[in-house]
Amino acid sequence: LASWVAVVGLEIHAQISSNSKLFSGSQVQFAAPPNSLVSFFDASLPGTLPVLNRRCVEAAVMTGLALNCSINKKSLFDRKHYFYADLPAGYQITQQRVPIAVNGSLSYSLCIDNKMSQMVTKTVRIKQIQLEQDSGKSLHDDTRSQTLVDLNRAGVGLMEVVMEPDMCCGEEAAAAVRELQLILQTLGSSQAIMAEGQLRVDANVSVHHPGEPYGVRTEVKNINSVRFLAKAVDYEIQRQIEELENGGTILNETRAFDSKLGCTISMRDKEGKQDYRFMPEPNLPPLILYDAKTLPANMNHQQVVNIDWIRERLPDLPSVKRAKLVELYGILPEHSFTLLNEDGLAEYFENVIKHTQMKPKKVIGWILKDLLSYLKEHALSVKDSPVSSFLLADLLNLLERKEISSSAAKQVFEELWKGEGKTPLEIVKEKQLELLQDQEELEQICQAVMDRQEDEVGAWMLW
């Protein structure tokens, strides 16, 4: 059987973290009474007009810069038409012709053979980033043959990030999305929590034989976590390979991922291919962005988005943070990945370092092996840890000063985990875990042991 090569591209929609919506002043909030966060514009009542939110533009520029994109100083808004109950206007305002950012890249890392010690860096090209409106939410009530519509989400700002088909499997897609998630969270442009619908991923998958043209691709939707993304992509790759090997063909269709069954199901639209009839949004002039060179002299600064100003204020991206951790503390690259992968763990680690004499290379072991495994076992996040970084630092100081042994330290850690408010020193005293430091006392104990075991000592001495 000839070998197969899979090609995976991603379309990612990230909800912009802002107080109000992209084109209106209604609030952006996850859970709220139905239709309470909806303005007349969001409900598409006649006579309303879109007004662009500057914060959303800045979020898109930040994200574009972080992904090494060219920022288009002039970008345009368009209407994408289709009918659905949660799209009251009958069209979505998006950026189809000239989006705000193009031609970027994202670097991510993978472990080879599941061994953390062997990491390889890959890159995926970012085709573009565009600003667009989110739609409302439809709740399907099949029993009563109706749909309930909540427009709270209608009009919320989205950044659509299009990743070129440079990935080859579920693991790569998941790693790329995970890195994007960390970048967005670091920038603050999106909180990117998949479970709350703030980050939605659609995967485009096709397979072909090496050297031959790309195969027909399918679009996979309804993926609700990074883990499911890997599963969905890998399932679809397998499905397509099996279909083709059995002499079948792949249809250019949309498929939904069923997380319970672990498979993709056809969502084939009986209406055929959609024609969105794109047209320029007549109510919005082009979006002009400036930089230090093109900044107009007399303009109100509130009306100006300055790309250079934003670039200067970009925080350290995850890749930079990791490199700094490795350089500053001498930890391994794979350690830095784990530190950044858990929310708050890097800060915890650095706080322990600040308050202990123990070397970072030894501290990292406690963080990644002891603390992290306890957290995982109890499904707790770092911020909910019963052992604070200060307590751990105290414990590690006792160990470093040789006041307790490392096995005693582990016992103390277990006690601390109970969260009873005792300090490490209190626990050590309570359980009498102090190491004996007195030379004379130690000699006496050793002598006593030897006296009791005369035969063994004798045999050893003959050696």
């Binding site: 802002s18 107080n19 109000s20 209106s24 002043g25 209604s26 609030q27 009474p33 139905p34 239709n35 309470s36 966060l37 909806v38 303005s39 007349f40 514009f41 409900a43 009542l45 007004v51 662009l52 939110n53 500057r54 914060r55 959303c56 533009v57 345009l76 038409h81 009918f83 659905y84 109950a85 439809s138 709740l139 399907h140 009530d141 099949d142 043959s145 109706q146 749909t147 309930l148 519509v149 909540d150 427009l151 009986k270 209406e271 024609d275 009839r277 320029p280 949004e281 007549p282 109510n283 919005l284 002039p285 082009p286 979006l287 002009i288 509130q302 009306q303 988005v305």
Partner: protein, 108 residues
């Protein structure tokens, strides 16, 4: 020239307009003919204008919450509502196929 029946059906589906009868179709053809006259203008080397607002500044709004909280008013327009949700039919109801309904051609 005639707009093909398949295109008419496609347009009716996409835009949910109803050309209804021969008069409606004739009006469409007139509109297309009218717009086609634009081809007579030499636009060699001229950037297309897609908005009469192209010289205007796109106004940027501050990210403040200034609207919303008018559920009652919005729902006044709803034909049907359940507990502050708008009620809609289950998904899109496809238009019947060409052969299954009276077409403008049949009516004229």
């Amino acid at each position: 020239e005639q707009v093909p029946a398949a295109v008419l059906e496609h347009l009716e589906r996409l835009a949910l307009v109803d050309f209804r009868d021969a008069e409606g179709v004739r009006r469409l053809q007139e509109a297309v003919r009218f717009a086609e006259r634009l081809h007579e203008v030499d636009t060699e080397g001229v950037e297309p204008m897609d908005s009469v607002l192209e010289d205007r500044c796109l106004y940027l709004r501050e990210d403040d919450v200034t609207e919303g909280n008018c559920t009652k008013e919005l729902l006044k327009n709803a034909k049907e509502k359940i507990e502050e949700y708008f009620v809609a039919p289950p998904g899109n109801i496809p238009l019947p196929k060409l052969g299954e309904r009276e077409t403008f051609e049949q009516q004229s």
